[in-house]
């Protein structure tokens, strides 16, 4: 690990990250040892750091491999979160530092990597990330270690989880899927083709799209699941074209999407219907791949990216934006700003830090109960939009209600707060521009 003085940011150096991948088979033998250590001494039970120490924020995500861009986005959101907390003096006087934990995007590789990190990282008191591809294997590990986590995963299975340390301010994938359907119908398209890659994250959207389109009186012209990174999808593309869709609701990685839509364009005489996809595609990779295939005009006009809503006019958003631009490790803040799911990492770090302040403890098992308290719109609670505001109110012994980048947080008994949705489009420079908002209640209604 390479420590960057001043920024409070720790980054996995590339060579180290590669070694993690290379030693995966050896590391696979370690979980038993790691679990033993974790069971004997959960991170939450370790000695409380003195004020002036450092608390590590575990960013659990794909830092290497095909999904590494998600890890980059997560790291940026973490950098912004610790920036605002550290600028206000830290959590209980302790500076925060991002500790990148590479789950490689692969559930099998994730287990030894996360187990090792939980067993060996010092003062690991909060975690963020834990996305869909690896959530099923990493969340139980973190929960067992009694470390509160703000997860960006979209798995429906976590809608009613009993994991005490799990918190989520983003919608489950089926809700995302239903939001895709709502947006497509709002745009006037009633006949949609569904194209989803066969991975856990993308497949999770499918039931919501089907249910949403059906409830809204639309029609699914064809529903295909495609393998990732194939040399050609021509046969599938022909079937999709033959179904005469008005809109393509699609989720796939940049390489697969580029191959698929390149062939679509070739086989459909240069015409590709509008695409509705998720905001997780709001990445330079996706933009670059699609732009070279479909052209800048198409990419900026005909691709809608639907995901968690963030309000650019809110105080919290402005603080988040300022923190992103002020963080020296964030290379493309404009891009990070548009991905709602990622902003939940920023909110999560602020919320967990405020919970530590309220609980007067950095121990996970202690401050976990205060996470709901600092986001509760209870009578008399002072509404705060930044960590500094929240800390000041807590010092005045006030109850607080943190309203973050994604708006009011209202956790249900399973620690989920899905919020609203919004649709965005690419600007020519790759930054997002807002197209509209979809009320969370509208989506919930579709799913019954």
């Amino acid at each position: 690990m390479k420590a960057r003085q001043g920024s409070g940011y720790r980054e996995v150096a590339p060579a180290r990250a590669r070694r993690r991948r290379i030693v995966a088979p050896i590391a696979a033998a370690l979980p038993i040892v790691g679990l033993g250590i974790g069971g004997a001494l959960p991170a939450g039970a370790s000695a409380r750091p003195h004020a002036g120490g450092t608390i590590n924020v575990g960013v659990i995500g794909p830092m290497t491999g095909p999904a590494a861009e998600i890890g980059t986005l997560m790291s940026a959101a973490c950098a912004s979160g610790i920036h605002v907390v550290n600028a206000a003096g830290g959590a209980l006087g302790n500076k925060l530092s991002c500790d990148l934990i590479d789950d490689t995007g692969d559930p099998a590789d994730a287990v030894p990597n996360v187990t090792r990190a939980l067993a060996t990282a010092s003062n690991l008191k909060m975690t963020v990330g834990l996305e869909s591809n690896t959530a099923a294997t990493t969340i139980p590990l973190v929960n067992n270690a009694q470390i509160p986590m703000f997860s960006t995963n979209g798995l429906v299975a976590f809608d009613k989880t009993t994991d005490r340390y799990f918190w989520r301010t983003t919608p489950a994938d089926n809700q995302n899927g239903a939001a895709f359907a709502v947006w497509a119908v709002k745009e006037g398209y009633k006949r949609a083709a569904m194209i989803f890659e066969n991975n856990i994250g993308d497949q999770g959207n499918e039931p919501g799209v089907v249910q949403g389109i059906d409830h809204l009186g639309g029609k699914i012209s064809i529903n295909v699941t495609i393998p990732g990174d194939a040399a050609s999808y021509s046969s599938v593309v022909e079937r999709v074209i033959a179904s005469h869709p008005q809109v393509l609701i699609a989720e796939a990685d940049p390489q697969s999407a580029a191959t698929f839509f390149s062939e679509y364009k070739q086989l459909n005489h240069g015409h590709v219907p509008p695409i509705v996809t998720g905001t997780d595609s709001l990445t330079p990779d996706y933009l670059s791949a699609m732009e070279k295939v479909l052209g800048k005009s198409y990419v900026t006009k005909d691709i809608s990216l639907v995901g968690s809503h963030i309000d650019p006019g809110s105080v919290a958003y402005r603080a988040y934006k300022a923190a992103l631009y002020a963080s020296p490790t964030v290379k493309n803040p404009a891009l990070v700003l548009g991905v709602g799911v990622i902003s939940s990492i920023y909110d999560g770090i602020v919320v967990m830090s405020l919970a530590m302040d309220m609980a007067h403890s950095t121990t996970g098992s202690v401050y976990n109960a205060d996470i709901e308290k600092v986001t509760s719109a209870s009578p008399g609670a002072v509404v705060v939009h930044t960590y500094a505001q929240g800390l000041a109110a807590l010092k005045r012994h006030k109850a607080i209600d943190y309203v973050g980048v994604e708006g009011q947080i209202t956790f249900d008994k399973y620690h989920n707060s899905p919020g609203n949705f919004s649709a965005s489009a690419f600007n020519a420079d790759g930054s997002p521009r807002s197209l509209g908002v979809i009320a969370g209640s509208e989506v919930q209604k579709l799913l019954g």
Binding site: I22, E69, A231, S234
Partner: protein
């Protein structure tokens, strides 16, 4: 019926890309007796070398030719530096496979260090769409198919009709005896790695053109298909690798057209297993080919 014909056309186009790599892999394995897993990472390297030349506004087909030469030389160097010393030390067949696996991982992540883990794109290089009797091809697919066929025929003629080809076969059969007969086996091995490496380079660029967007996993993703095609056709047999590639390509596209595309690869590999159960040594078995070659 139209759907089937179209799927076969798409399969031929896909299979040609797989075959391009499979022919080189098969010949390399057949003659040098090394199951070179680094072949996949070499294809990835080729894609990135090609990408670098493409940034200089060089025509994509000239890029393919240049990259082939670069990867051909790189393959010779790789064999000289790593594999030949291992062989001289008496490393077992499996030991050498493990060495190539290790080298593949090292090369793959060396690429990441230099170009990052993000996706890159050759851009749209497919050219015009051509339709012949319901078979739909793009210009780039036609060029790749023709290149594959030409290289396959060239390889076959080289092996069967030339002095150096006979020397390659002799070296493949028994290097010690070949050397005793006056064949300069080191040069023959170098020549084999140069040619098969060039095929590998061409395959890497062809893959990058076909998939449009690619990252550092490109070669390793497709290596398994190329190994399957080579094994299906019979190791060391250029025609076999070509046919194997076409079987894999057509099976996957027909499966994608009629069943769930999610299982198109599964169906292709089920066919592979069934065919190997019927003909364990591949479609073009070594015995039959040896007899045929003996008569040339």
């Amino acid at each position: 019926m139209k759907l089937l014909i179209e799927a076969i056309g798409f399969g031929i186009a896909t299979g040609a890309v797989i075959a391009l790599g499979a022919v080189g892999f098969s010949v390399q394995f057949g003659i040098s007796n090394v199951l070179n897993i680094t072949y996949g990472s070499m294809m990835t390297l080729a894609a990135f070398v090609g990408y670098a030349f493409l940034q200089l506004n060089v025509n994509v087909w000239i890029v393919m030719a240049i990259t082939s030469a670069v990867i051909g030389v790189a393959s010779v160097v790789f064999n000289r530096i790593l594999l030949e010393p291992l062989k001289r030390r008496g490393t077992s067949f499996v030991g050498i496979i493990i060495a190539t696996v290790s080298a593949a991982i090292v090369l793959q992540y060396a690429i990441v260090v230099f170009v990052g883990a993000t996706a890159h794109s050759f851009g749209e290089q497919s050219g015009r769409t051509l339709t012949v009797l319901d078979l739909v091809f793009t210009t780039s697919q036609v060029i790749i198919i023709c290149t594959t066929v030409a290289l396959m025929v060239g390889f076959h003629l080289l092996l069967t009709r030339t002095k150096i080809g006979r020397a390659m076969r002799a070296t493949s059969t028994n290097r010690t005896v070949a050397r005793a007969c006056g064949i300069r086996t080191e040069r023959i091995i170098d020549f084999t790695w140069l040619l098969s490496g060039a095929m590998c380079g061409a395959a890497g660029v062809a893959l990058a053109i076909t998939t449009v967007s690619f990252d550092f996993t490109l070669g390793s993703t497709f290596l398994i298909y190329m190994i399957a095609a080579a094994v299906l056709g019979g190791i060391g047999q250029p025609y076999g690798a070509m046919v194997g590639g076409l079987v894999v390509g057509i099976a996957s596209q027909v499966a994608g057209a009629y069943w769930s595309p999610a299982y198109q690869d599964v169906i292709a590999f089920v066919i592979l297993i069934i065919m190997l159960l019927v003909r364990p040594r591949g479609l073009f078995s070594a015995g039959a080919v040896t007899r045929r070659l003996a008569n040339t």
